[in-house]
């Protein structure tokens, strides 16, 4: 009896992973102005509303400062500035992203979008006509029925 059960479980598990890996990726989406951005959910630590930023004078323009995330020091980045989007963002939410080997980083955003499941095979190259932001930090784009989802290259954003 037990053996059978175990086997079943394994099959279920296998199916589960295969779906995720092969078919879709879960994306957290959010808006900056009219742009809709996506970050893989696996890289997002949490989203919260505790905006209490301590500025760090003399730091780069796109760094807003640091904040206290339950005892951890988190760097806060103004993503709009980093992506050179000409727009003043009023910080409302923290989107906290993991940074391997370093303390996490928070992108402050105004509005969170939906959680999306996307199919990797349908990812497209960044089109040349995309304007109004710095394209080097966009990895791919993904065509949604009504909008273009811009997939961020988190590693590049975090490392440069």
């Amino acid at each position: 009896m037990e053996l059978v059960k175990k086997e079943n479980l394994e099959i279920v598990k296998k199916e589960d992973t295969s779906i995720k890996v092969a078919d879709t990726i879960t994306m957290v989406s959010f808006y900056i102005g009219d742009f809709l951005f996506g970050i893989p959910a696996s890289q997002v630590m949490e989203i919260n509303k505790e905006i209490d930023i301590t500025p760090v004078p003399l730091s780069d323009e796109h760094i807003l400062g640091i904040m206290n995330l339950r005892g951890q020091i988190v760097t806060v980045m103004d993503l709009a500035k980093k992506l050179k989007i000409d727009l003043k963002v009023t910080p409302k939410l923290n989107l906290i992203v993991k940074d391997e080997g370093e303390s996490p980083i928070s992108f402050v955003i105004e509005e969170i979008g939906e959680i999306l499941e996307i199919t990797p095979s349908k990812l497209e190259k960044v089109p040349d006509k995309l304007e109004g932001l710095s394209k080097e930090y966009i990895k791919n784009v993904y065509q949604l029925p009504d909008k273009l989802l811009l997939i961020l290259d988190i590693e590049k954003i975090v490392k440069e």
Binding site: D52, V56, L58, S59, Q72, I73, I105
Partner: protein, 858 residues
């Protein structure tokens, strides 16, 4: 082979301890071959290692240990001498054992390599050679045979026991049985357990978090003001602190754990360089945070290498110089305040300042003029600059790309500082100061605009309240402040941080010590000092030099931690430039740096006077009718003693002083004799520099004057006044010496100069005064003197250099030198005595100084 993982772990731990013991033992042995105790210990350790290796079936290890043990037994029984080749091969054996152990640790099995087998053959042959050598001396053979028997017997026992219990530990017990008396450390083992360091680190972090959480709760409870809550919070607070301290203690390790690695390094290095070095370790029990211990190992190794390579001379050179053949290297650790001091002291050739000067010009670090003007300290600090090395030929050992600049950077990264002192021909002393722990540091909290910043307490010198408009002077774009005669460049925190918006009026000047110099930081507000937990900042801030991290405050908000060395980069122009500007303007800037005295200010009639409070034994008030006349002099009866009283107006040209109903009396006591000085009114005390102006008011009894709080204040020379009152007051009845002794006094402060001179003359000496070391030196060479008294901090040439120069001159190398100072400090004292001074006294202590002079001149 299959054995329990735990037992193997036990074995590895024990083996490592054994290796350390062996290394230490061999070095000790080489120094003192007769130490039978050491030999026994070595033999015992090697024997346990052999037994355990055999148990696990590590054949090679067992064999190496076996042969080593064999050699050791011959040493122990005095059959052979611990000559160099013997010790060498034994050390080599330890190296192989070390290698095998680390291999086993990783791979759980012994390495099979040719080089190990080759060595085994070498070791075995060596052993055979020794055996033959021993056999040539028939008498001693019996001893050896006996030992062999004993050994075999012991081994048998070991094996039996192991088979019975399969417990490595027992090897030790067998050994103990054999080697009465029983050592107690077997029992000790039960009170200690081994804990993973990571676990302790985690515990430490959690404790840090707990402190923060506690701080928040404390703040909340202060808002709520509930009695019961407050009490509970107090208890929580207390326990938290205690727990934090205890956990910190778990991370503390004796510095000996790295010091003990140095005997081997020193030995190998000395041998490679053909030098003889005797290493002394002091204060090995001094405890430091584990992470710091790890971090100072490399800098220390580098400094020790330098000391042996550049400092200590070859045995031939030393003998020629009249030094013992063996150089001495002392590695000393001790606690001082919240810091640990590590000193590396050698008695080698010292650092050649002339060579540094030459190199500084050659490499473009300083101009020719700058070099000539620079103090010894400034020149020595060049050693820490990247690209500066004094070794003429870069040897393989010292100069391998990592220089003293890296050493300094590493120590500063730990929040520490490094300082070099050197005496040509006598040796070099390097002093490293590091904090006890890195994780939690005391810091001063200041504000700029709306935000708080933390300044590590170690960098803090003092806090001064200033009026920026009046007290700060400006040269070019740099502001500076004069703190007791020293020029300190001032930064405004809000300007450094480029914080816009209006700031409160900044009146708080924080004086910071960067290790090289002082800077002032003008901040909005100063809060209390707090214990903070240092947290690193992310990679985006690495290139901003003014922060060293961040911390979470009690209210959950963040504060950036300021890096003082980084801040100092924002100082626009150098102090030298400021000095130049002001010299040009005819303003004298330099006086005795940092020298301060506490003055007592008092009025007689309308005149204001000052006297160092240290000279006064007591202050009191008396009624006018208590003053009696006896023998034509005014006296009072004070505490059953007849005390003559002196009215200053009788000796100084003062305006008429009206009679008063009561007087304040300053009592002055020396050698059991007391007199009192009458004054109208005591104004108060003031800590200040001994700066005075001479001229207008100078006359016997007055050393000079100065404007204090807008009023001309006369500095009285109490010794002169008393002498005027009674010329015999200070004369002690001794037989007058036929020859009057001549004393040379070097002192830059006119105030001290005048006072010391007067009391020396009063004591019957002839005194010549000079204002700095250079002048003193010139005077010394052109006249005959019996003794030199010198201040330390002086312009042109300071006291340290004066002593060095005097001691270096053949005619005066034995003249007694007394250093007088207003700043007492053990390290300064040690330094001047090392330099060759005979005594070290406090300026204002006339009695002690005179005693010392008498002693040195007799």
């Amino acid at each position: 082979m299959n054995f329990d993982e735990d037992i193997l772990q036990d074995f590895l731990v024990e083996a490592k301890e054994g290796i350390t013991k062996l290394e230490e033992g061999f070095i000790e042995l080489e120094k003192d071959p007769k130490k039978i105790g050491v030999l026994k210990e070595l033999f015992r350790t090697m024997h346990s290692l052999k037994g355990a290796a055999g148990f696990f079936g590590f054949k090679t290890l067992e064999s190496i240990a076996h042969f080593s043990e064999d050699i050791l037994s011959k040493l122990r029984d005095g059959l052979i001498e611990p000559e160099e080749d013997v010790v060498d091969i034994l050390l080599k054996a330890v190296d192989y054992i070390k290698y095998i152990i680390s291999y086993i640790e990783e791979n759980k099995t012994e390495p099979v390599e040719d080089k190990i087998l080759d060595f085994l053959v070498e070791l075995s042959n060596f052993n055979e050679k020794l055996r033959k050598k021993v056999q040539e001396k028939p008498k001693e053979r019996i001893g050896e045979e006996k030992l062999e028997e004993k050994l075999e017997e012991a081994e048998k026992k070991v094996e039996e026991k192991i088979e019975e219990k399969k417990e490595v530990k027992l090897v030790e017990e067998v050994k103990e049985e054999k080697e009465a008396p029983l050592s107690p450390h077997v029992e000790l083992a039960e009170t200690h357990i081994k804990v993973d360091v990571k676990l302790l680190d985690q515990l430490m972090n959690l404790a840090g978090e707990l402190v923060l959480a506690r701080n928040r709760v404390v703040q909340l409870s202060q808002k709520i003001m509930d009695e019961e809550l407050t009490r509970s919070v107090q208890i929580l607070s207390m326990i938290t602190t205690e727990m934090q301290e205890t956990i910190m203690k778990t991370r503390m390790q004796p510095i000996g754990s790295i010091f003990n690695k140095f005997p081997r390094i020193v030995r190998d290095l000395a041998k490679a360089l053909g030098k003889k070095v005797n290493l002394h370790l002091e204060g090995t029990e001094t405890e430091l945070d584990r992470s710091i211990i790890e971090a100072i190992k490399d800098p220390l190794t580098h400094l020790i290498r330098n000391a042996i390579d550049h400092g200590i001379e070859t045995p031939e050179e030393r003998v020629m110089l009249g030094k013992p053949e063996e150089g001495n290297l002392i590695l000393r650790a001790y606690q001082e305040g919240g810091q640990v001091v590590i000193e590396i002291d050698d008695d080698g050739r010292g650092i050649d300042i002339e060579k540094i000067k030459k190199k500084a010009v050659e490499k473009g670090f300083m101009s020719y003029e700058e070099v000539e003007r620079a103090s010894e300290k400034e020149l020595l600090n060049l050693i820490f600059k990247p690209g500066f090395s004094t070794a003429e030929t870069v040897t393989q050992l010292s100069g391998r790309g990592v220089g003293m600049d890296v050493v300094k950077a590493n120590i500063e990264k730990l929040g520490g500082s490094i300082e070099i002192n050197t005496i040509r021909g006598k040796g070099t002393n390097i002093k490293i100061k590091i904090p006890l722990t890195l994780a939690i540091i005391p810091a001063l909290i200041v504000t700029s605009g709306d935000y708080r910043y933390a300044i590590p307490q170690v960098n803090l010198k003092e806090l001064v309240n200033v009026d920026p408009d009046k007290d700060l002077l400006k040269v070019g774009n740099t502001e500076f402040y004069r703190l007791r005669g020293e020029i300190i460049p001032v930064l405004r925190l809000s300007e450094v941080l480029k914080v816009n918006g209006k700031s409160e009026e900044q009146r708080n000047l924080v004086i910071l010590n960067t290790g090289e110099r002082f800077i002032g930081l003008l901040v909005d507000r100063i809060f209390a000092s707090e214990e903070i937990v240092v947290k690193p900042l992310g990679r985006w801030f690495k290139n901003i030099p003014i922060y060293s991290g961040a911390t979470i405050m009690g209210d959950g908000k963040l504060a950036l931690i300021l890096d003082v060395v980084g801040l100092s980069q924002f100082v626009g122009i150098s102090i030298e430039e400021i000095e130049k500007t002001y010299e040009g303007a005819g303003i004298k800037i330099k006086t005795s740096a940092q020298e301060t005295i506490i003055l007592l200010l008092f009025d007689v009639g309308e005149e204001r006077f000052a006297i160092p409070i240290a000279l006064i034994s007591r202050l009191d008030k008396i009624k006018a009718n208590e003053i009696k006349i006896s023998g034509g002099k005014e006296i009072i009866i004070y505490r059953d003693e007849v005390v003559p009283v002196i009215r200053l107006e009788n000796y100084l040209p003062l305006k008429e002083v009206p009679l008063q109903e009561s007087y304040n009396v300053l009592f002055f006591t020396e050698r059991g004799k007391t007199c009192g000085i009458l004054c109208t009114n005591i104004v108060g005390t003031l800590e200040t520099t001994p700066e005075i102006e001479e001229g207008i008011y100078t006359q016997p009894g007055i050393l000079g004057h100065r404007i204090i709080d807008g009023k001309t204040t006369l500095f009285i020379d109490i010794y002169k006044i008393i002498e005027m009152y009674d010329p015999d007051w200070f004369i002690v009845k001794v037989e007058k010496e036929k020859v009057v002794k001549r004393i040379l006094l070097a002192e830059d402060s006119p105030f001290f100069r005048g006072m010391i001179k007067n009391y020396l003359v009063g004591a019957g000496y002839e005194v010549e005064t000079t204002e700095n070391g250079k002048e003193a030196l010139n005077r010394l060479f052109s006249g005959k003197f019996d003794l030199i008294i010198t201040d330390l901090e002086m312009p042109e040439m300071d006291g340290f250099e004066l002593i060095k120069e005097v001691r270096a001159s053949p005619d005066y190398k034995n003249i007694p030198i007394i250093v007088v100072t207003s700043l007492a400090g053990e390290d300064v004292r040690r330094k001047v005595l090392d330099l060759g001074a005979n005594a070290y006294e406090i300026k204002l202590n006339r009695e002690k100084l005179l005693e010392e002079i008498e002693r040195l001149l007799s």
